[in-house]
């Protein structure tokens, strides 16, 4: 049986593996993916709270990327299971405050609160999915490279990269230490209170030691904060078209109510 830390660690490493695959989406330029994701989230979040039908169009993007990147939607929801309830809980009280009926649905009055709750949940889920898809299709190094290309300062990007590596080291050390602890304290649930201080201190020291050894190891092999070693540094026409297409679509969806327009065209 795996302890929770080693489960978390495996999941963390599994993201790296996902990001290392080679689908159409994975091969796109990281900067394009980053920009598309940012515009997507900004557009989705900025929809007016009663505009549910307009927001619905935004589902197209994650659906497409899930298909094209061959990443199962299941994986996404499994990884987001911890934050998902929080995101959904945000709008939970809206129906109680905002009771004015907005429209009728089959003889039932739908209040503004219900609509705004739904749209808030959707915004949250969409943003989470878009971020997940970005991370699952782009290795952290490529992302850092993209940030550098957007002129985000070197120090911030380095910090991001090292933090990312540090989280992985921390989880790994934690899982090793938990195993070592439980092997010598059979039948105990969790860590005994009396050992918390020592355990935490050790965890911090060990993981910091390892993180700095890894950083030294990077420096010894010529690292100076630049991402020469990232694949796909050049912008391709495909990437460019991909970016232009989606960004245009998001803006259009935000400005015009596409689903209503589609409805009127069809009827």
């Amino acid at each position: 049986m795996m302890n929770q830390a080693s489960e978390a660690w495996s999941e963390f490493k599994a993201m790296d593996e996902l990001a290392g695959q080679a689908s159409v989406i994975h091969r796109l330029h990281p900067l394009v993916k980053l920009l598309v994701t940012i515009v997507y989230i900004a557009a989705a979040v900025s929809f007016p709270k009663y505009n549910l039908s307009g927001l619905l169009v935004m589902v197209l993007y994650p659906v497409f990327v899930f298909q094209a990147s061959l990443i199962p939607i299941r994986t996404c929801f499994r990884k987001m299971r911890v934050v998902l309830p929080l995101v959904c809980a945000v709008g939970l009280f809206n129906p109680f405050f905002d009771r004015a009926p907005l429209f009728m649905l089959g003889g039932l009055a739908v209040s503004g609160g219900v609509v705004s709750m739904l749209s808030l949940m959707m915004k949250g889920i969409f943003s989470l999915m878009a971020s997940f898809l970005l991370i699952a299709t782009t290795p952290i190094e490529s992302l850092c490279q993209a940030l550098r290309q957007m002129h985000v300062p070197k120090i911030l990007v380095t910090l991001l990269l090292l933090t990312y590596r540090y989280i992985s080291v921390l989880l790994e050390e934690l899982s090793v230490m938990l195993d070592a602890y439980h092997l010598r304290a059979p039948g105990q649930k969790g860590i005994h209170v009396s050992a918390w201080g020592a355990f935490l201190g050790q965890l911090l020291l060990r993981s910091m030691d390892r993180a700095s050894a890894l950083y030294e190891s990077m420096q010894l092999r010529g690292w100076s904060g630049a991402f020469y070693y990232v694949r796909g540094g050049r912008l391709t026409v495909t990437s460019l078209l991909y970016g232009v297409f989606w960004i245009a679509l998001f803006l259009l969806a935000r400005l015009v109510n596409l689903s209503q327009l589609l409805g009127t065209l069809l009827v």
Binding site: A19, G20, P139, R210, L214, M218, R221, G222
Partner: protein, 243 residues
Amino acid sequence: MLEFEHVFFSYEKEQPILTDVSFKIAPGEQLGLIGANGTGKSTILKILLGLLPCTGGVRVGGLPVEKACLPQIRRKLGYVLQDSDNQMFMPTVYEDMIFAPLNYGLSRTEADARVDETLQQLALTHLKRRHNHKMSGGEKRMAAIATILALRPEALLMDEPSIALDPCNRRRLIHILRALPLTKIIASHDLDLILETCDRVLLLSGGRIAADGPASELLRDRALLEAHRLELPLCLSGCPEGR
């Protein structure tokens, strides 16, 4: 090529680790660094790489080990860590191996060729696409050695290179080390490996150099070795497995 001149070092004030250590290694020389646990073998390697500050003169290829020269110095040195988990930081073996060559300005095709060549040399082509966190201890060790050889250093610093290797991989490593015409420092308790790969041996004890001489002589000196908590290499101890 590598030079220590009256070097003093301590991690904590009252506990000197190295006291007045001096030695010189000529280009192409292969030095075995031996000594009991905690005598400062790893420390010496780290000082050479400029990872630990010390007093005294340390020079690599004529350059003093100082902040301004570190990039040049580190370019010359390939360092295999005692713990390979700390050596590998990219998701896969391939990405780890290509990291340094690309940092040093090789094109991707050149770097790719170098990676393949190194992997073939070590008979490790099957590890190329493997994920670092899903390998056994020995596989990781071989991969870590491969990442360093792909760097094509002028001098090789190895900390316990044979640890965790199966006999076959250990043998292969010895063959490769013997065939590489580099300057080498190998810190190890595997005295058989030292005997086969090094022509000179430094014995550390109590923060000083207790002995310095040809490997074939020093490693036969049972009295000297045993006085410093070591033993004869298996192949010289008359033990039947060693022959």
